[in-house]
Amino acid sequence: MSTTENTVAPQQEIIVTGFGGQGIVLAGRIIGMAASLGDNKESTLTQAYGPESRGGACNAQVIISDRPIHYPYVKTPHILVAMSQAGYDKFAELLTKDSILLTDQDLVPTTSAPCPHYEVPATRMAEGLGHKMMANIIMIGFFTAITGAISKKAAQDTVLQSVPKGSEEKNTKAFNKGFDYGVSTLKGKEKRAAGKTGAIAS
């Protein structure tokens, strides 16, 4: 696939990585389901099994495409979502300058990515909302806002379908929190690029 031909890649290859138990696989599944069921695209999910999913560096690989997908494993991720340092270290070498890296800034302290890098304190924000385990939903919101790989509506609907009954409201709040943070981050980046860092015109 050529990276020079257009801006919206017809095929997006995504790796979500972190500790087992953070809801990494669920996050991957929500992203994939949102793309296929909500946005009517093709998508695949392959996930880590075994010891990784019980506490090690776990990962989920998602491919979203406009065309049928022939091979479900990710060789070169367009988007790497890292929610643990170990997970980041494992996949960092696959990043190219055209990739996008999303991290939980408190859990992935050291990075040296060749590509654009966006940070969110997802776990800290989830703690603020009262449930640490919602960090993955916050990350999905952030992912949706920054990458635009799936639409906001599809993501929101899929989150609601995938979470336990009774927790819909909290998870919607978590999603929106992550999404808003993503929108603000992009806006901040744009403002900084335009030289408007503060509120007083310099």
Binding site: Y181, S184, T185, T197, G198, A199, I200
Partner: protein, 542 residues
């Protein structure tokens, strides 16, 4: 400025020009005009004064507020003032008042200062004719004055049924005479013979006409600290508000501070045809969109700056500009109202319910016609008045009233915003309206806790227990108000802070005034900034 559509009430009345004439120089000229039976226009009503320098700004404005279409201050030529500085002072007072008239949309040409020597009778006559001619061209002012009711034959006879209704409404009999109000009242604590429960007993015992009770009613800060502490939950601020109204209805006047200047100003705002002329000095970097569904409401700050600029270094209008800057920072380009009136807060709280009602109805009519969804304001008084007082008086607004701090907290909470380090120890002066009357003491603190100062120390009395800045509705300011301000500043200094952050323009004015005390040197001096201005200085995108 002339207004195109004037109602019949203001259109057809004869013009009225008040001429304040100095006793010494120009009065001699005026006398010769009278002796020679020259045609002094009958519209000119002369008031002979000992010195034009003593006609202060409140008198000048009051003349307009009472129905004058033009005011001429005529004094002695420079260098001939009997008292030395009269001419200079008169000229400065005229300039200040002109600026206010301009902002109010009355037209600064309606106020003139001129000087004549005793032998310049012809020139004086010319001046009067030219002035009258100009006033005729401009027509009457848009200020409508409402007649005051006849004074009751016996002031002691405050209508018993009104007093009884007041007692019933606020359940004054529930007062247990426990004295918690007095032990909390900042005025009582600085030694003023002031007692909240004393007023309560006076109402019950029909002692409201007694002069010490009257004095207490007018000097209450309505800061709400006693209500906070009252075990019987007697809503003292609201009670005082209505008691003042009862006094006014029976022509018992309050002690208006600053010569009643600000009250004249606000009373004039009750005129339907008046079109204020605001926001003309907007800094260029601010982005405004007159089609925006979000309105930024400024409040009285620019009037304060002109009036208090004579003695104090106050720049409260900058708070408004900084508020707009913060909206711009978050990509909100608000709409501004060129003919913005004041919210009427001070009229209501000094007992003028009639004028308040008129101002409020005009505001509701105008604002509801704009088609906006949100009004954002940074003034705690405007916030409370629009958000709570208007609806409680049956005046519904078709948009949401939001305090700027709420907007900021919501936007900053979205993330990706940070604050640069503030190399100062800070402390915070609560606004009584926001922290107690609206129960929002937490709101400014959420923002304060986001700042990155060296340290944030609360004063000994803070939040719901915070001490008032000394005055609320420009009434009853006296030595005890000053003592309170001094005490408050000492508390601020005790925290070790070098920056005092405020959230109301009046706190800025009152505390700044106390800092000027020449006998204390710089013992009370400290830097003071509004929270909005501190945020604007330090906020940045991550």
């Amino acid at each position: 400025m002339m207004q195109p559509n004037k109602s019949a009430t203001t259109m057809n009345r004869p013009n009225k020009i008040i001429l304040f004439l100095c006793n010494w120089g120009p009065h001699a000229a005026f006398l010769s005009l009278q002796d020679e039976k020259r045609d002094i226009p009958e519209e000119v009503l002369m008031v002979r004064v000992p010195c034009t320098g003593r006609v202060d700004r409140s008198l000048l404005l009051k003349a307009f507020a009472m129905g004058a279409d033009g005011v001429a201050l005529v004094g002695c030529s420079p260098g001939t003032c009997r008292y030395g500085s009269g001419t200079l002072i008169a000229s400065r007072n005229t300039q200040d008042t002109s600026k206010i008239l301009d902002l109010m949309g009355i037209g600064q040409e309606r106020l003139r200062f001129a000087t004549f020597l005793p032998e310049q009778a012809d020139d004086l006559l010319d001046f009067l004719h030219v002035f009258l001619n100009d006033i005729k061209k401009m027509g009457p002012t848009t200020i409508t004055t409402s007649p005051t009711g006849p004074a009751p034959s016996d002031q002691r006879a405050l209508p018993r049924e009104d007093v009884a209704a007041l007692i019933a409404k606020y359940d004054i009999h529930a007062c247990q005479d426990c004295g918690k109000c007095s032990s909390a009242c900042p005025l009582a604590l600085v030694g003023k013979p002031f007692s909240a429960r004393g007023i309560a007993s006076a109402v019950i015992n029909n002692d409201l006409y007694k002069s010490d009770v009257e004095e207490n009613v007018w000097s209450c800060l309505t800061c709400g600290l006693c209500y906070e502490r009252c075990p019987s939950a007697v809503n003292f601020p609201d009670f005082i508000k209505e008691l003042r109204h009862l006094y006014r209805k029976n022509t018992i006047q309050g002690e208006e501070a600053h010569g009643g200047f600000l009250h004249s100003l606000m009373r004039s705002m009750a005129s339907r045809d008046m079109t204020p002329n605001r926001w003309r000095n907007l800094p260029e970097d601010l982005q405004i969109d007159q089609e925006s569904p979000v309105l930024f409401y400024g409040g009285c700050a620019p009037y304060f700056d002109i009036f208090f600029g004579k003695h104090l270094d106050v720049h409260t209008e900058k708070i408004l500009f900084d508020g707009i800057r913060l909206l711009n920072f978050f990509d909100v380009h608000p709409r501004l109202l060129g003919d913005e009136r004041c919210c009427g807060h001070d009229l209501l709280w000094s007992g003028e319910q009639k004028h308040f009602g008129q101002v409020a109805r005009l505001n509701v009519e105008r604002l509801n016609s704009l088609g906006i969804t949100t009004m954002i304001t940074t003034c705690p008084e405007c916030y409370m008045t629009f958000k709570t007082t208007y609806p409680s008086q049956g005046l519904q607004l078709n948009f949401e009233v939001v305090h700027l701090y709420d907007f900021l907290e919501q936007e900053i909470d979205r993330g990706a915003v940070q604050f640069s380090a503030l190399d100062q120890v800070i402390t915070f002066q609560d606004s009584c309206r926001l922290c107690r009357l609206e129960s929002r003491a937490e709101l400014p603190r959420q923002l304060l806790n986001r700042l990155q100062p060296t340290r944030f120390s609360e004063m000994r009395e803070s939040g719901n227990a915070a001490m008032c800045c000394g005055n609320t509705a420009w009434t009853g300011c006296d030595a005890f108000s000053k003592a309170m301000q001094v005490k408050r500043l000492q508390q601020a200094r005790e925290t070790g802070a070098d920056l005092l952050i405020t959230s109301c323009p009046k706190c800025q004015i009152h505390l700044r005034c106390a800092m000027q005390d020449p006998f204390r040197g710089d013992e009370l001096q400290m830097e003071m900034l509004d929270l909005t201005s501190v945020i604007v200085k330090t906020i940045q995108w991550k």
